[in-house]
Symmetry: C2
Subunit: 181 residues, 2 copies
């Protein structure tokens, strides 16, 4: 799949744009983060969520980056991106995504995904890996597949889902090096 720059004005909501997050955005990201972590269906993050712990976890330092999808001054979602490992694994990127459940189905996740892939490509990353996509989160799995990711494996029973019990975690991967701009 070739990577094409996303026309952000055509993604998500008509006035949505994606921009780097500042510390001042965290108070608006936090309720989205807390809601998603407490729902417990998509992320293996520390529970219960704690404001300061979550901030340091979500707000990336360079060379990573955290962005927000905003409409006017309202944060609709956020993504963080950066190297998956330090040192000799730092040429592989990773990313995480959270969209306000009130705004699901409006293409915000897709717009954030396209942004992140373009960012990693432009930053010279060789590939991108998602380490733990909950297999029952089929909307996310299908979105990442449509953006060029493949499922490398599914770690069995690695996620304790509040409704389904122990379910698998997909390792998803996409090569970026050598793809067209």
């Amino acid at each position: 799949m070739g990577i094409t720059p996303s026309d952000q004005s055509q993604q998500g909501t008509s006035r949505m744009r994606i921009r780097p997050a500042s510390n001042g955005d965290w108070p608006q990201i936090w309720p989205i983060y807390a809601q998603i972590v407490m729902a417990g269906e998509t992320y293996a993050y520390p529970e219960p969520p704690v404001f300061e712990v979550a901030r340091s976890l979500w707000m990336e330092e360079p060379p990573g980056q955290t962005v927000v999808a905003v409409e006017d001054d309202v944060v609709l979602g956020s993504a963080k991106m950066g190297p998956n490992r330090p040192g000799r694994g730092a040429h592989v990127a990773t990313a995480s995504f959270m969209v306000d459940p009130a705004y699901h189905g409006r293409g915000i996740g897709r717009a954030l995904g396209e942004y992140v892939i373009q960012w990693a490509h432009d930053a010279g990353y060789h590939s991108m890996q998602f380490n733990a996509v909950v297999e029952t989160n089929t909307a996310a799995v299908h979105l990442w597949q449509s953006l060029g990711f493949e499922i490398l494996t599914t770690v069995p029973e690695a996620f304790n889902h509040p409704r389904y019990g122990l379910v698998g975690l997909h390792v998803m991967f996409q090569r970026l090096a050598g793809k067209a701009e």
Copy 2:
């Protein structure tokens, strides 16, 4: 594969034993850690290694644990173990291992591996996952396979090896729940 308690007196060197590490052990672990990270063949850890950064990375807090393999007062190797993820992934254990290259071939890695599997089993972990085993580190790969791990997938070109270039990282896995004591 059933899990049997390792008879540590029969493993590694004749007088070797494995015990929990204290902060006072770090000055002896550090040169092993630094040598292995600088060799660059087996771990995607921050480079160059820095004493304090490495200490906080290697010396686990509860519920994790760091151990040393010692002969008399000499540290021959070390392992760290704990949950692979927080929250809803905390029932899966992970571990990392370092053996002084001067003592390779004496069964110290195997003794540490057996210790860690038993620890995770006793602590009630459901399974154990290694996230990033360098595929060219065949001694380690074969050791983990002999201790019951399987390769779930190999993330392509995810490790920048100083001699072989970009090589794969194995995700290795072993179920523990339901195995005999």
